[in-house]
């Protein structure tokens, strides 16, 4: 709701560039608006510039060009300690020589709050992350998950409106990570804080965020809600990076009425939805999600193109079957089917007909 009103953008990057050596740009012309209360994730491979963006927002790096605004005020020249932004670090950065309570009390002490207020706030923050019993412990005496909670409580205890998180769950095991993902989002929504979250884990990004900004090569490749990102990737990088994806290479043969006919390199012809192709004869990468491929011809809309495929491998994974096919010269074509009572199991060597709805098949840049 809030995000419709772009004028009230809480955090705003305006034509921001960053270079460390004066030769290459780590962040190239970044424009981003984050409304109040949003959980935004910056997702991308390492070296894509996402952490640099976060550090510029926190004030530990300065933008080479452009402006970063917080609440309508440019913060380019405001030092980090005056920005009032909470931050959770990758390795938690809990002060090892202070107890949990002292760690939490630190931001309140530097704000010169009196003792009773400090204690009250520390207790409240610890209760919020269910760590009230651990006040007197040192960080080294806590498990990874507990340290994570304390780091979170410390970033929230001085009630910042904006909290930055730099891969905070990277060091936890899978189960704990999933639990913390849920807890962090729940807490963020309950407190109504704005969160900018950096991760390279796409599952984390998709499950936690209101919106995801996919970074690559110093640029935002796509900024969208998780479902849009998955269903409607705007370019081949996003399609490849988010989830599993089948790619077929070809040339645009015909463009008509929101349908592009693509002649694949192997000779077959398929219909696709044109996303970023504009002229006939252009090279394109066609992208289809494995779970959108239909093995049962009867379920396809009439007039759909079909392709002949040879089964190479059939993997039983419990809730889904994963079949590797040879399609149009590609040995890596994956199909995922749900394990339902009417679903047949395929044997390697079998020849089948596969197809898909043209709307699920996106012609992207080559």
């Amino acid at each position: 709701m809030a995000r419709k009103n772009s004028k009230s953008a809480f955090v705003k990057f305006e034509r921001v560039q960053k270079s460390y050596d004066g030769e290459t740009l780590v962040v190239k012309d970044l424009n981003l608006e984050i409304p109040k209360g949003e959980f935004l994730t910056m997702l991308g491979p390492s070296g894509s510039g996402k952490t640099t963006c976060l550090m510029m927002l926190a004030g530990f790096e300065t933008a080479t060009h452009g402006e970063i605004m917080l609440n309508g005020i440019s913060i380019n020249n405001i030092p980090p300690h005056k920005r009032g932004i909470g931050m959770v670090f990758q390795n938690y950065a809990l002060f090892p020589h202070m107890s949990v309570a002292e760690n939490l009390s630190f931001p309140l002490e530097v704000r010169k709050l009196d003792k009773t207020t400090r204690e009250e706030k520390v207790n409240r923050a610890l209760d919020m992350v269910e760590m009230g019993d651990f006040k007197g412990r040192r960080p080294a005496q806590l498990s990874g998950g507990q340290q994570q909670r304390i780091a979170l409580a410390r970033a929230l205890v001085f009630e910042p409106e904006l909290v930055l998180m730099d891969e905070p769950l990277g060091a936890l095991d899978k189960q704990l990570r999933e639990k913390m993902q849920f807890e962090i989002t729940a807490l963020a929504h309950r407190l109504g804080i704005t969160v900018v979250y950096v991760t390279h884990d796409q599952t984390e990004a998709l499950t936690m965020s209101d919106r995801v900004a996919v970074f690559n090569d110093g640029r935002i490749q796509q900024l969208a809600t998780p479902d849009q990102l998955y269903e409607e990737p705007e370019n081949s990088f996003v399609a490849q990076f988010i989830g599993e994806n089948n790619t077929l290479n070809g040339t645009v043969a015909k463009l008509k009425n929101e349908t592009a006919t693509v002649k694949l390199d192997s000779g077959e012809v398929i219909d696709c939805k044109p996303v970023n192709v504009s002229t006939v004869g252009e090279r394109t990468q066609v992208s289809i999600r494995p779970e959108r491929v239909e093995l049962n011809k009867k379920r396809l809309p009439p007039g759909s193109h079909t392709l002949t495929a040879e089964v190479l491998e059939f993997i039983y994974m419990g809730d889904v079957f994963r079949t590797r096919l040879r399609v149009a010269g590609s040995d890596d074509f994956i199909v995922k089917t749900r394990n339902s009572s009417d679903q047949v199991r395929l044997n390697p060597g079998e020849k089948i007909e596969i197809g898909w709805s043209p709307s699920c098949c996106r012609a992207l840049d080559a």
């Binding site: 926190a58 004030g59 530990f60 030092p79 980090p80 300690h81 005056k82 920005r83 009032g84 932004i85 909470g86 931050m87 670090f89 990758q90 390795n91 950065a93 809990l94 002060f95 090892p96 020589h97 630190f106 931001p107 530097v110 704000r111 410390r154 970033a155 001085f158 930055l164």
Partner: protein
């Protein structure tokens, strides 16, 4: 059955107790390890431990008097040193016999020197007596009381005999009493006369100046160590070479360089005069006194402070400072409340290293210290090389060693030696 087997001794497969067979299998491993370190162990034992023990034992050893003057020592025991009267003829006769034997064997100078440490003047007394005593016939030439007093009136002084008696036992606390400006007299331990007290003053000076040197090393070394730990790799390496550079230059060269810098016609004074900051007559005296020693030793010991500090600081991730700043701390607060407490083990390790090195330093104070800037170690060297009072030198050395060990122990109690990181 179950409870029975748990109370029994565990047996290995062939029936021998498990502990025994484990010991047997480990014995060979231990033996091999011992063999590997044996050469080093023997070397340390012969070249390090044994000389130190033998030197330290000299601080209480006092066999010379008993060995050279056996008859005197024996007969003087019955004399009451506090009676105020001279010993009787039998002691004088025994001494005449002893000094004659010693003079013939040419060992009388040694014991004369030994007793001269305790009461000056005894050496000449002995030498003069020994010359005459060679010609005496002990059986017939008596009585020796008058004869000896005639040779030198010193033999008529009670104090001389008191000194001989007090220092006749094979072991003595005399050297240690000397080392703290006291002396052993017939009446017991007593303070040295005012004009002979120097050692306590020297100990104090050594401690205070070592503390000042350690403190200046902390002040100068901390920023350098911080830079080393936080600069990018390439600059840090360059800086590291600059820090280590002094290690590759001779200690004497470095100390002499300070002499050139600090002397009254030296570089610093010349520059100050040229800049008209001081007048030509008012040239600063910075060498051959405390300032010279402090400046030169701070420079020489600085790397020993920087390296432990650096190795500790290297382990403090920069994210702590960032975290502190993101929580609202100013640069200073972030440093003082978050970074500094974590760097304290490095300061501790550097300080203990520098202080221990400083307290026993010899060459630099010797060259640039003059008389006001010398340490206790220079006094030890003096007693070893010039006055040849090895017993006193050993006692001084022992006190120094014990002081360092106490310091080390206290530090371990307060900070914990585990927290000292010398190499990461």
């Amino acid at each position: 059955m179950v409870s029975n087997s748990s109370t029994n001794v565990l047996l290995s497969a062939d029936g021998t107790p498990l502990k025994k067979s484990l010991n047997r299998s480990l014995r060979q491993q231990k033996l091999r390890a011992l063999l590997l370190i044996a050469p080093l162990l023997i070397f340390i034992l012969v070249a390090f431990i044994m000389p130190i023990v033998s030197m330290l034992s000299r601080s209480v050893e006092n066999e010379l008097v008993g060995k050279t003057l056996p008859l005197t020592v024996q007969s003087i025991q019955s004399w009451d040193a506090l009676s105020g009267e001279l010993p009787d003829e039998s002691v004088y006769k025994a001494f005449a016999q002893d000094i004659q034997n010693a003079a013939k064997a040419k060992v009388h100078t040694k014991v004369a020197l030994r007793l001269n440490y305790e009461k000056s003047g005894i050496a000449s007394l002995f030498k003069k007596t020994a010359r005459k005593a060679k010609k005496w016939d002990i059986e017939t030439d008596g009585p020796f009381k008058e004869k000896l007093i005639k040779v030198h009136k010193g033999w008529g002084e009670v104090e001389v005999w008191q000194t001989i008696k007090t220092h006749s036992p094979a072991y003595t606390s005399g050297y240690f009493l000397n080392a703290v400006d006291m002396r052993k007299t017939a009446q017991g331990a007593d303070w040295q006369p005012e004009d002979k007290t120097i050692l306590i003053k020297l100990f104090q000076r050594t401690l205070i100046m070592s503390l000042i040197i350690t403190f200046s090393c902390i002040i100068l070394g901390y920023p350098v160590a911080w830079l080393l730990a936080n600069l990018p790799m390439r600059q840090a390496n360059l800086l590291m070479i600059l820090v280590l550079l002094p290690f590759w230059t001779s200690l004497l060269v470095r100390t002499s360089a300070w002499k050139v810098m600090l002397q009254q016609q030296g570089v610093i004074n010349d520059v100050l005069v040229q800049l008209s900051l001081i007048s030509d007559e008012g040239r600063l005296i910075m060498i051959n006194n405390e300032i010279g020693t402090i400046v030169a030793m701070t420079h020489i010991l600085l790397p020993f402070m920087i390296l432990p500090m650096y190795s500790v600081m290297q382990t403090i991730p920069p994210s702590y400072l960032r975290a502190a700043k993101s929580l609202g701390a100013t640069n200073w607060t972030a440093f003082w409340r978050v970074y500094f407490p974590q760097s304290v083990p490095g300061i501790g390790a550097g300080s203990i290293l520098v202080f221990i090195l400083a307290i026993g330093y010899y060459i630099t104070p010797e060259i640039v210290g003059g008389t006001k800037g010398v340490f206790i170690s220079n006094r030890i060297a003096y007693h070893i090389l010039k006055s040849l009072n090895w017993g006193l030198a050993a006692a001084l050395g022992t006190i120094l060693l014990v002081a360092v060990l106490i310091l080390y122990w206290t530090y371990d109690k307060i900070v914990g030696i585990d927290n000292v990181k010398l190499g990461g």
